[in-house]
């Protein structure tokens, strides 16, 4: 009798286990999969062309793969192997919360990409969640009465991350330039009541009201991961250009730089090893392919043009917030600026560097396959225009071709 009962219990347990496993696997088979991808060749009126693929990935959102630019002369070269957003870090002034929107605070930019209505896409909905638009971008150049208007193509998604809505876009212009951008809109995420919050935020209820209510000020630190493969993956170099006051002699007669202090020179430093770069003093960076020269004998490349950042660095507990540009050598397991070695985010990469600062570990980059991580900052100082809904603020950076040809890419 006991034996029969035990057998019954064992069989029942097996049935329950089998049913549970079936349920888990059934759930897995239909797990949320917003992933999509497509590739395009975009031919501009100017005679130039971009060839690229986009993919909607759950965490990183809109990812660009293998973008090649063909100039007016018909020379086509790889520019970008892969471009993505590697983190959106939003620390609030009152000390908490400190969101990491791509890697831990949400299910990701792609998971939360909204279905778009045709009326909000002034182009083609290439999927329910991705809009592609061709724009006239105004003058490409003008001299006297001569001019050329330019065009660009933009791919964008809208991701609802909590109360915030991020408009994530990648724009490719007919002159070869690229603009990754994030538009910040939606509704205020953290609103607190009480006079103690006054130093940390902006008042959002009438000055006469009691208690006072404050939207808490915060930073948006967005990390773009840019795997530029200019004319191929290998043999890259990054040149740091720092503008400095020159007090030596001037080649122009009558100018004494030491007295006028209006002379400037650009100091060029080819980075030897991986590096964390700060925006100040005044800097810009060129990534070049060392093996490809233009018709005038200069290395072709792209310039990373930073945008009006409010400079910010994080506390020691946030070591990834230490600079504006991180220069690393390529590693396929290094995809996220924070939580990179989290097995629940990046399976199979548990031994990789945990964050972008740790990825900078003195590996040589001169002649290597280089990856750039650009961290743009925006201080959101709460204003009445944030209610309701918040007027969009756009932030990003620009990538411009540099010496791609010996002349203008559109000529």
């Amino acid at each position: 009798m006991i034996a029969i009962s035990l057998r019954l219990v064992t069989e029942t347990r097996s049935l329950i286990q089998a049913a549970t496993l079936a349920l888990i696997l059934f759930m897995a088979t239909i797990a949320p999969s917003a992933a999509q991808s497509a590739c395009n060749t975009i031919s501009f009126a100017a005679g130039t062309q971009w060839t690229l693929c986009w993919e909607l990935r759950l965490r990183e959102g809109l990812v660009i793969h293998r973008a090649d630019y063909r100039d007016k002369a018909g020379v086509s070269r790889r520019v970008l192997y892969r471009g993505s957003i590697a983190e959106v870090h939003v620390p609030y002034h009152s000390g908490s919360p400190r969101f990491l929107d791509v890697t831990s605070s949400t299910s990701g930019l792609g998971s939360n990409a909204l279905d778009l209505d045709p009326s909000e896409c002034h182009g083609v909905l290439v999927s329910r969640k991705v809009c592609r638009e061709m724009h006239d971008r105004g003058y490409a150049w003008k001299f006297s009465s001569f001019f050329q208007r330019g065009e660009e193509v933009t791919y964008w998604i809208s991701s609802q991350l909590g109360q915030y809505n991020y408009i994530i876009s990648w724009t490719f212009r007919d002159d070869g330039s690229i603009r990754p951008e994030a538009g910040l809109t939606g509704r205020l995420q953290v609103v607190k009541g009480g006079p103690a919050y006054a130093p940390f935020g902006g008042r959002v209820n009438p000055e006469s009201a009691s208690p006072p209510t404050f939207g808490i000020n915060h930073m948006h630190n967005i990390y773009w991961r840019l795997d530029l493969d200019i004319a191929g993956a290998s043999n890259d170099a990054v040149n740091r250009i720092t503008q400095a006051v020159h007090t030596g002699t001037s080649p122009d007669a009558g100018v004494n730089c030491a007295i006028v202090r209006t002379c400037h020179i650009n100091l060029h430093t080819v980075l030897a090893v991986e590096s964390i770069e700060r925006l100040v003093p005044f800097k810009t960076w060129h990534q070049i392919d060392k093996g490809t020269l233009n018709a005038d004998g200069r290395s072709i490349g792209y310039e990373i043009i930073p945008e009006g950042n409010q400079l910010w660095t994080g506390p020691s507990s946030e070591p990834w917030a230490a600079g504006e540009l991180y220069v690393t050598s390529y590693n396929g397991c290094e995809l996220f600026a924070v939580n990179n070695n989290n097995p629940g985010l990046n399976p199979g990469c548990g031994s990789a560097a945990p964050h972008v600062q740790a990825m900078v570990n003195a590996q040589p980059i001169n002649g290597a396959d280089v990856v750039l991580w650009y961290n743009a900052h925006f201080l959101h100082h709460i204003r009445d225009e944030d209610q309701l809904n918040m007027l969009a603020h756009h932030m990003g950076l620009e990538l411009h071709p540099r010496n791609w040809r010996h002349i203008n890419t559109l000529q």
């Binding site: 286990q17 759930m27 290998s234 396929g332």
Partner: protein, 226 residues
């Protein structure tokens, strides 16, 4: 009997998340959209194609056959799919292309009963296998869409949330309000949510923020309205 009731309860809960996931799974592919811009041509890069339903099924079947995964999954435990996604191959620096023309899946599950994250890399196609399997204690996995939907359903069933919606004249009128959510990670370390998986939800209408902010503890399945 108790176990049976518990099982039914869990299966019903799981069914809700399954249905929610179904809504997300039905995505059109780009090729179905007619491109009316003559200067833009479409082409296909097979290496970037998202996992098909058959590939996702293969990934889960391979995981099921793996002895280590089987031991982790076969029990009456609350396991949620965090995500399943195409795994990208490393770049071949010499060619500037993905190193191998192979299809692989990243699979991440979270076990609420054991507080473990199960992450796997599964090779698909001919000769499929579990290439990598890791079990990590704690909640390192980011939230999955299924979990956010589960939090939403728990909140909507909560009496305090319902009272708030009733006061706003919105009870039972789900199409008239918008719920957004974030992982809730409190600054105070002795709060349960510092070690549990929690979601904070925000209720809105088109014209207002309702001020209903439930914190849903997915580990205990409790809802706290602040």
């Amino acid at each position: 009997m108790v176990q049976s009731l518990r099982m039914r309860f869990r299966m019903r809960d799981s069914l809700a998340t399954v249905l929610a996931a179904l809504a997300l799974a039905a995505e059109p592919v780009a090729s179905q959209v007619r491109d009316e811009t003559p200067r833009i041509k479409e082409y296909v890069d097979d290496t970037l194609q998202p996992l098909t339903a058959a590939e996702i099924q293969q990934a889960t079947a391979v995981l099921q056959r793996d002895d280590r995964a089987h031991a982790l999954l076969v029990s009456d435990q609350r396991v949620r799919t965090v995500f399943i996604e195409r795994r990208e191959d490393d770049k071949d620096v010499d060619t500037g292309q993905p190193r191998a023309d192979r299809r692989r899946a990243d699979v991440v599950l979270y076990n609420y009963d054991t507080d473990e994250t199960i992450s796997a890399v599964v090779t698909l196609g001919p000769g499929p296998r579990v290439e990598h399997l890791a079990v990590t204690p704690g909640q390192p996995a980011a939230l999955g869409s299924q979990e956010v939907e589960e939090a939403r359903q728990l909140a909507l069933a909560d009496p305090t949330v319902q009272a708030g919606l009733r006061a706003a004249g919105l009870l039972g009128r789900e199409s008239e309000f918008i719920i957004t959510g974030l992982r809730f990670q409190p600054a105070v370390l002795d709060e349960p949510c510092s070690t549990h998986r929690c979601v904070v939800l925000f209720f809105n209408t088109r014209d207002s923020v309702l001020g209903i902010e439930p914190i849903v503890d997915l580990t205990t399945r409790e809802v706290q309205v602040r």
